[in-house]
Every structure is written in structure tokens, then in C-alpha cells.
Amino acid sequence: MSTPTVAEDSTEKATLKSAMHDYWLRIKAGDIGSLPAVLGLVALCIVFGSMSSVFLTPGNFANLLTQAAAVIVIAMGLVFVLLLGEIDLSAGYTAGVTGAVLVILITNHDVPWFVALIASVIVGVILGFGLGTLVARLGIPSFVVTLAAFLAFQGILLLLTGEGGTIRVEDKTILAVENSNLTPTLSWIFFIAVSVMYVLSGLHSINSRRRAGLKSEIIKLWVLKTIGLLIITGLAVFALNVERSNNPDLVSLKGIPYVVPVILLLLVIGTFVLGRTPFGRHIYAVGGNAEAARRAGINVKRVRIAAFMICSGLSAIAGMIFASRQNSVSPTTGGSSTLLYAVGAAVIGGTSLFGGKGKMRDAILGGLVVAVIDNGMGLLGYAAGIKFIVTGLVLLVSAGVDAISRKGNSV
């Protein structure tokens, strides 16, 4: 019994080494993925943590997540469009318009929140269908179509919110998304349930590859990665479960904000669609080489339209998050820097502006980077102007890394 174990162990060691080597080769070849975003996130946390006593507190951490939520969800939608090598500049105001639809239905027409939410997502999907049709069927560049929509949707939002300018939302469920938390017990149950599912799905895929006699990921590497991920997320849950209210007797603030499971659900669905379904594969194919995709019998136009529909549909969810965070919608909901932050988030996370490269999780990583800069510099007392400049530079660096790695790849 002992001899085969040793033999197996030594091969695993060798392959672990070769796996590291392969990873290094991939990085050198320009396939850096989300490495810069992870490193950047760690570096930013160290810098802000050492400069501000508030930054690394549980209260600020929870705050960071709720601040980043809407931008992350828009960025998730943008990943679909960016994968095609297209862009949707109107996604921010799509969130505004659909958020307004949601709030108007709830506040002015007493519609139940879930009906209103479904309606607003449908409105988003229809807007996306319009954008996608103009891009795919008429061949107008997506930059121009969505720039026009950016202006037009801003107008629609202004008309919807009317003279008063602000419509309040008082529905408890909608408000809870950004303002309430799971109880600490529920938080741990949620964490354990998600972890178990993650581990089981990982084991299942390794097992099925083994059974088919294919080279699978090295067990040791997978175990290391999984344990690392579970420790980090476990620590996050622990931090969020700490009481963060200044006056716990009056209001208690602890647990995972509701918006976190919402984003996690979107991440799982999005990752599944992109990675495991033919539709997702076709999105990558169209982004990589549209002509090759067409010759392979893929309906390129339909894929394009669908991507825009998904992007605008997700923007509608972001609209709901905005409404929850601001307790209302106003003519600036989803406006100002929202869209640029969202594009920045996707690109900083590792999604290529040239299409064909990117993942759902990029939106979350990049969204956190953007939120950390915004939050940390705010805590340090920098003016909004400086924040914009720094975020702009970070975006420029990420886009530069993307362009250079692409060049390195093609040589």
C-alpha cells in the first residue's frame, strides 16, 4: 500500500512543478487573466490599510461591498458584450431607466416588488434587443449605437422621474438588498452551503475527467486553491459577522449584506452560461473570430443580439440595487461615472476590450478594485477630482496591459 502512494506522490510533485511552469509560460505568453487585478487589490488594501485606521474595519468592508454592488452587476453584463469585442456605453442609464420603471411600478402603482422587478428586467432585455438589433442587423458600430442610447436613455429617465426629480421607494424587500444583512447564523449556513457546492462541483469535474481517462487538474493544486479560497471567504464572512454598529443596542449591524448572495447567484449563473453552454462557447468564438464562427454555422447575429439583451437585463438588476441603495431613483441614477466605472471594472478584472477574453469573475475583482480606490481615497480625504484621476489611470494601465499582452500573444 505504501509503495504506490509514494510513487503517486512523487509524480504529483513533478506535475505540480510543471503546472507552475505552465502557468508561468501562460503569463509570459500574455495570458495573464485576473492576476493584475488580484495583485492590485492586495496592494491597494495594504496601502489604504496602513494609511487609514478605518479602511480595514468590518464596517468599512461591508460598506465597500454595497458600494461596489451596482457597478459589479453592470460590469457582469458588460463582460458579455466586451467578449464580442463590442461595447455598451448606455448600460449605466439602462440601469437608471429600468430602476425608474421598478420604482414607479412599486411606488405609484402598488405592484408587488417581484412583479415590478420582472417587469423592469423585461424592459431592460427589450432595450438590449433594440441595441443588439441595430448593431448586428444594420451593422452600426456598437460605440455609436450605445452612445446615442446613452443620451436617449438619459432623456427617458428624465421624463420618467418627471418634474419632481426623485421618486422614493418604500418596499421593504427592495430596500433590504443594500441596507440589511443576513443574520450571523444564516451567514455561516450560507457560507457552508456555497462551499460544499463549490467543492462538490470541483470534485465532480475532476472525477468525470479521470473516468474518461483525460489529464485532469492536479489534485494537490486544486486542493490548495480551494483551501485558499475558502479561508479568504471564511475570513470575510467572519469579519462581516462582527458587530459593526456604533450603537449596538439601538441598531445591530452584522452579517452578510443581502446583495452579496444576489451577486454570487449572478456569478454562478453567468459563469455557467459562459463556460458550460454552447451559447457561451459561441460568444467566445464570435469575439475571437467572427468569420470563423460564421463558417462553423454559428448564427453570429443572434449571438450578438443575445449578448446585448443579457447586458441590459443585468443592468436592470443593477437598477434595482441603485434604487435600494439610494432609497429612490433620480435623474442621475446610473449616470455620471457609473458606466465608466463598470467598463473599468470589467477591463481591470482582465476582460479584453478586443473581445474573446474574459470571465464573469473579472467583473467582481475589477469592481472591487474600483470600489477600493473610491472608498480608500475618500477615507483619506482626497477630493473627488483626485479619485477620478487615479481611477482613470488604473483603467488606462489595465487597458495597456491588455493591449500589450495581446501584442505579445500574436507575435
Binding site: G213, T277, R281
Partner: protein, 254 residues
């Protein structure tokens, strides 16, 4: 010659006033490499696009395994087992070899991609073609050399139990060693019983792997002859003038 797997008889195709193909006869046999040569504008591309169903001929008959068939779209051609490997490869750089081989025809379990069976099948096909140069079939196509990319494109074409594989200038952009690799692969395809059509400008390549040679001249089939019955100079004459002393012209054969 054994009964051809696909015979074209009297195929004509015009684009407006331009008469591109005139009464073309063309035979493709299983287990043979048929080279299709001709100068630029002779109609080679139009001819293979007619076979692939991208163009529909104005008139003319297609006989597949002796039976008359209609090819009125790419789907018809695919259904008959006809696959084209285009000159500009049509691979997605950002996807890996397995993804590219199954692009547009992914294997599914329910509505989910069946990666394991796709990878196993891709491995089997590449092994069947004795392709040993690719390190991992999970590497992205962008990291492959020109010859390896051509190999992937060809492997994709034979993945579907295809009977006829048409290669449009597969060696045009390759170096010496890689050209040799691809030509070996072409030969192996035919030895495995496939009917291979090789379009090439390079007569060295043609004489190296082809079993018979069809020369188009200004939209007409100048001649389709056994490789061993001609020498390169005669083929050049067929390409440039449409006739050559000592070669029976396609018209006279009938």
C-alpha cells in the same frame, strides 16, 4: 479508375455576364488525392464553392456514389460528408484545440457542453491522423505554429466521418518542414480512405502527394489525368494554355 465518389458533369456557373465555369466535368475518388490546379481566375474557388454548396450551379449534375444529388446549401454538402478547409483556416485564436474542432457542432449532455467526450474524441482523431506535434489539446490555438493550425483545421474536417475533404491551398503560408508535415497528413487522409481534393499552386506539392491532377483553364476543365501519365511541364502548359501535346483533353475523353 474506380467509380468516383463524387462526379460533376457539365457544371456551369455565371455571375451576371461573367461565365465562370463552362461545362466542367470533375471526378473525385475515395482513397485518392485529386489535385485541382489552375491559374488565378480559372475558377478553382468557384468550383469548390459549388461542391460545398456555397454557390448553386446554374446547371449541371452532381453524382454522389453514382446517384444524382442536389447540393443547394452548405448543409446539404455537410450531410453528404463534404468538408472544406479554407485557406485562411477559420480558427478562433482564443479557443483551445478541442473547442475549435467542435465549434458550431458541440457535443452536449442535456443543454450542457460535454467537454470530456469532446476531448476524448478530439484526442482519438488526432491520434488517428498520427499527429504528435501538439503538446496539449487544451492549449489555445494562438500558441500553435502555422503547420499545427493547418493540422487542427484538417482534423476538424475529418472529425465528422466526412467522406470528401477539400483543402484550399493548405501549404500556401508554410515553411519547408511544416509543408512536409501537412502533405504527409494529406497523404494519410487519402490512405485512410477519404477522398481528398487539394487545391494548390505549387506543382512540387501536387506531384508529391496527388494521385491525379485536374487542370482548369478559363473556367473549362482542360484535363483530368493520372499523375504518372504527365510531367510537370505538361501540367504547366495545361494551366497556361489549356492544352498540351500528348495529353488527352477533357472534352475529347467524352
Amino acid at each position: 479508375m474506380s467509380t468516383p465518389i463524387l462526379s460533376l458533369r457539365g457544371v456551369n456557373k455565371s455571375f451576371g455576364p461573367v461565365h465562370v465555369l463552362r461545362d466542367v466535368d470533375f471526378d473525385i475518388s475515395a482513397g485518392k488525392v485529386t489535385a485541382l490546379v489552375g491559374d488565378n481566375g480559372a475558377g478553382k474557388s468557384t468550383l469548390i464553392k459549388c461542391i460545398a454548396g456555397i454557390y448553386t450551379p446554374d446547371h449541371g449534375d452532381f453524382l454522389f456514389e453514382g446517384k444524382k444529388v442536389e447540393i443547394s446549401g452548405p448543409r446539404d454538402a455537410t450531410a453528404l460528408g463534404i468538408e472544406i478547409v479554407y485557406q485562411d483556416l477559420a480558427l478562433c485564436d482564443n479557443l483551445d484545440i478541442v473547442h475549435n474542432m467542435f465549434l458550431g457542432r458541440e457535443k452536449k449532455r442535456g443543454s450542457v457542453l460535454d467537454e470530456t467526450s469532446m476531448e476524448a474524441l478530439a484526442r482519438k482523431v488526432l491520434d488517428g491522423l498520427s499527429v504528435r506535434t501538439v503538446k496539449s489539446i487544451r492549449q489555445s490555438v494562438s500558441s500553435l505554429s502555422g503547420g499545427q493550425r493547418q493540422t487542427v483545421a484538417i482534423a476538424r474536417a475529418v472529425l465528422w466521418n466526412s467522406k470528401i475533404v477539400i483543402l484550399d491551398e493548405p501549404t500556401a503560408a508554410l515553411g519547408v518542414a511544416q509543408t512536409e508535415q501537412v502533405l504527409n497528413l494529406v497523404r494519410r487522409l487519402a490512405d485512410n480512405g477519404l477522398a481528398v481534393v487539394l487545391i494548390s499552386h505549387n506543382l512540387n506539392d501536387v506531384f508529391e502527394v496527388a494521385d491525379n491532377i485536374a487542370a482548369l483553364y478559363l473556367g473549362q476543365m482542360a484535363a483530368q489525368v493520372d499523375k504518372n501519365e504527365v510531367i510537370p511541364r505538361q501540367v504547366i502548359e495545361l494551366i497556361t494554355t489549356g492544352k498540351s501535346a500528348g495529353v488527352e483533353s477533357a472534352g475529347a475523353k467524352r
